[in-house]
């Protein structure tokens, strides 16, 4: 392999369990965003737009959809003779008998040191597949070089009152980090880590090898950064100014999607500069019929709208039939909404079928009974390949998964906060 100045390692193995049913079958980075994208498209597009053409994607939790999406990297121009995208999965090491899971963020990199060494890079860029943002990693690398740093951590200035929800970097005047605090009760600074790091590879390698001896679950935030600080290495905070959203919860996921709908969105996808690429093999016309009403919404290629859509996102290949009303909702790819269906503040995953006349997202706002920590802001979520029978009524904070039958809805109703889980039949 020819030498690369910087190799990116994208941590895409996490479940993102706070996204509930949306990540039951797929890893969080594979979750759809903005109708046609998947979350991982943002860091991947950032890489190629920044001139980083060698990316290792570390997978672990439910990788199938992610693997299919990434393929050999064609949509991101990451199908390269030297470099490009490589999927790195947990594996059995030579001489060993049993394989090892990735036990922590840093441990995952440690287990794939061979990959990086094959490119003999000067720097390593660590990314996660959890965030929506546009960022020029080349500028961050310039900063890293200028500071002659061992590690540079991208930070966002968050409101002080929210700082205790983040990993906070405490810095000196020139943004050199002297302390890292994970979710501090009394934060000393408002510089929140974005989970984006550039390391000088020789320094990181040393730290990974040493740390692996003590921590089998070696983690960047918990172990590697504190270790390097303790050793007195030079770590710097790189201030990022722009849109950055962690879409880790149902509410934040919904909100970040809705942000795209605003007339002048803070996060603008409609500019030629810094394009976001995705794997979309169907480039079909989007049709809006006579009598349809579509306002304050995004409609993806191949969707057909005969009903009313307001303040919503309609994914590729979705059909919204006559008389149907969709408000404040996200309908993902290839879902069919039959006639006279009413949907309010609901997320419906890919390939679902919603029977004629069903109402979803109506009633009292009661948190979900089974998982109140996940579903508590009034949003009902329907998992992939689900079927909702005609005519039923579904409350708020409900969860539906699988091919449900009319018997699953006592008196034709699923009360707010209820969950129904059935088997899925691939259509």
């Amino acid at each position: 392999m020819r030498r690369k100045e910087m190799v990116a390692m994208l941590l895409a193995g996490g479940q993102g369990s706070r996204l509930g049913i949306l990540t039951r079958n797929i890893a969080k980075p594979a979750v759809t965003f903005g109708g046609e994208y998947r979350i991982i498209d943002f860091p991947l597009s950032n890489c190629i737009n920044s001139g980083v053409d060698t990316v290792g994607v570390l997978t672990q939790y439910q990788p199938l959809r992610l693997n299919q999406h990434i393929g050999i990297g064609i949509p991101w121009d990451l199908d390269k003779k030297n470099g490009g995208v490589t999927i790195l999965a947990p594996h059995v090491k030579g001489g060993g008998e049993e394989g090892e899971w990735f036990m922590g963020t840093a441990n995952a990199i440690y287990q794939n040191m061979d990959f990086m060494d094959s490119y003999n890079p000067e720097y390593v860029l660590i990314l996660s597949g959890d965030h929506i943002y546009k960022m020029d990693y080349a500028q961050m690398l310039d900063f890293h070089k200028k500071k002659n740093a061992a590690a540079t951590i991208a930070v966002l200035e968050v409101p002080m009152e929210e700082a205790s929800r983040f990993g906070i970097m405490n810095t000196e005047g020139d943004d050199r980090i002297y302390e890292f605090e994970e979710k501090p009760k009394e934060p000393k600074s408002n510089l929140a880590s974005m989970g984006i790091y550039i390391f000088t590879w020789s320094r990181l390698k040393e730290a990974l090898v040493e740390d692996s001896k003590i921590h089998p679950d070696s983690d960047f935030g918990k172990h590697i950064i504190p270790r390097m600080l303790e050793e007195g290495q030079s770590l710097y905070a790189y201030r990022f100014h722009g849109y950055w959203k962690d879409v880790g919860t149902i509410e934040s996921y919904w909100q970040a999607n809705m942000d795209l709908i605003k007339p002048l969105p803070e996060f603008n996808l409609y500019e030629d500069f810094w394009k976001i690429y995705t794997n979309n093999d169907r480039q079909n016309p989007q049709y809006t019929a006579p009598g349809a009403v579509v306002k304050e919404s995004l409609a993806c290629e191949g969707s057909e709208i005969y009903g009313t859509v307001k303040h919503s996102i309609i994914g590729p290949g979705v059909v919204v039939k006559k008389g149907a009303v969709i408000e404040d909702s996200i309908i993902m790819a290839d879902t069919a909404i039959e006639e006279d269906v009413k949907i309010y503040r609901t997320i419906i995953d890919e390939n679902c079928a919603i029977g004629a006349g069903a109402s979803i997202g109506v009633g009292e706002d009661i948190p979900n009974e089974t998982k109140p920590k996940i579903y508590n802001t009034g949003i009902t979520v329907i998992g992939t390949h689900s079927v909702v029978p005609a005519g039923v009524s579904v409350g708020k904070n409900c969860v539906i998964y699988g091919k449900t039958e009319i018997e699953d809805y006592p008196d034709g109703r699923l009360e707010s906060g209820k969950t129904v889980m059935r088997e899925v039949f691939e259509r």
């Binding site: 079909n284 306002k295 290629e301």
Partner: protein, 372 residues
């Protein structure tokens, strides 16, 4: 049965499309909000298992070449097969433009010499249809044909086509090119299957003797010596190359559910070069009816019975009706666009209007023009 493909994308169709083909080959005409005409022939070839395809072009091929700059979108670009864009070229002996369809193939004969597939599928690059060439080849073999001509039964515009007369067995008994008084309804749609070696032999015999046309010199000229059969195309077929009205009508056909179902909702799909635009954005002032909207477009006004391509911006209180708005058009506040074709990147400034006569005679605004 294995075949190589040849797509004839040479011309500007004798200027019948006015400014639309002033700077592009007819095969590069944008269609249905996201395609170019040649996507249909290319996808049909690829979906029929043909892995080696030559596109013959000579007229203003820049936009066509841009579209074909990577062949991977149609699944060509492999070690076996590939996509070849062939143009007239200069040698020590001289050079010449393609003098006809047969001459165009003859000038690139090494493409045929260097193949070993037994059959050749020849198709035009400006038709919108979905066809499985495997079926045509199977028919060709079953009939023991020398040449198979694909035709479609039509009622209108027959005098714009070559008309086939056939016996009960579908063997060609007569062929009239653009007859004033057509005697039959079977119009050739410019798709032919022929044995590769036979094609080489015929071209070597004809072209050096000044016979440059596939239709005139081979199909018509050698009708009696060769076994030529007709194969009926039963699905949707339309050509954007026949004229401005045909271009307009073909685009508007995508507003029909049965047409979209055939092209969009049924495997195999039509592939095109991806543009990676975000979803179409409908803002609060949007009022859209019976229209297709390309990705990356932003709608603030009213659109009725229209085909809107990618990255089009429609301002508040603007109205577009019965029109085609190609990629990148910007329509200002309060504008009215009716019975019009706006080529790519046309700007209509606030309060201005572009109004044509009818669907049969729409007004055409040339690429990058500003209406002020």
């Amino acid at each position: 049965m294995r075949a190589v493909g040849i797509i004839l994308a040479g011309g500007n169709n004798e200027g019948r499309l006015g400014t639309l083909t002033q700077k592009r080959a007819a095969a590069a005409l944008p269609v249905g909000s996201c395609y170019r005409a040649i996507d249909f022939a290319l996808s049909n070839m690829s979906n029929s298992g043909i892995s080696k395809v030559a596109v013959l072009t000579q007229y203003n091929s820049r936009s066509l070449r841009d579209h074909l700059s990577s062949s991977k979108w149609w699944d060509f670009g492999r070690k076996q097969g590939g996509l070849f864009v062939l143009t007239p070229y200069t040698t020590n002996e001289g050079s010449s433009w393609f003098r006809g369809t047969a001459d165009a193939i003859y000038q690139n004969m090494s493409y045929l010499y260097n193949s070993n597939e037994p059959y050749v599928v020849i198709a035009s690059g400006d038709a919108v249809y979905k066809g499985d060439f495997r079926k045509v080849i199977a028919y060709h073999v079953e009939k023991g044909a020398d040449i198979t001509v694909v035709y479609k039964n039509m009622e209108n515009n027959l005098s714009s086509f070559g008309i086939l007369e056939m016996d009960e067995d579908h063997r060609l008994t007569g062929f009239e090119e653009k007859p004033e008084h057509p005697r039959a309804h079977a119009a050739s749609i410019g798709i032919y299957v022929i044995g590769r070696q036979l094609l080489i032999d015929l071209l070597q015999k004809m072209v050096p003797n000044g016979k440059y046309s596939l239709v005139k010199d081979i199909i018509i000229g050698m009708r009696d010596e060769l076994k030529i059969y007709g194969y009926e195309c039963t699905g949707y077929w339309s050509t954007v190359g026949r004229g401005i009205d045909a271009y307009f009508a073909t685009n508007m056909d995508f507003l029909k559910k049965e047409v979209r179902d055939e092209f969009i909702n049924q495997w195999p799909y039509i592939a095109t070069k991806p543009k990676d635009e975000p979803p179409a954005k409908y803002n609060a002032g949007a009022s859209v009816s019976d229209s297709i909207i390309g990705s990356g477009s932003i709608i603030n006004g009213t659109i009725n019975h229209s085909v809107v391509f990618r990255k089009v911006y429609i301002s508040e209180d603007a109205v577009a009706e019965n029109s085609i708005l190609m990629e990148g058009c910007r329509i200002g506040k309060g504008c009215v666009i009716r019975n019009a074709i706006l080529d790519k990147y046309v700007k209509v400034l606030d309060g201005k209007s572009v109004i044509g006569e009818s669907s049969q005679n729409p007004v055409v605004i040339e690429k990058e023009a500003t209406i002020d």
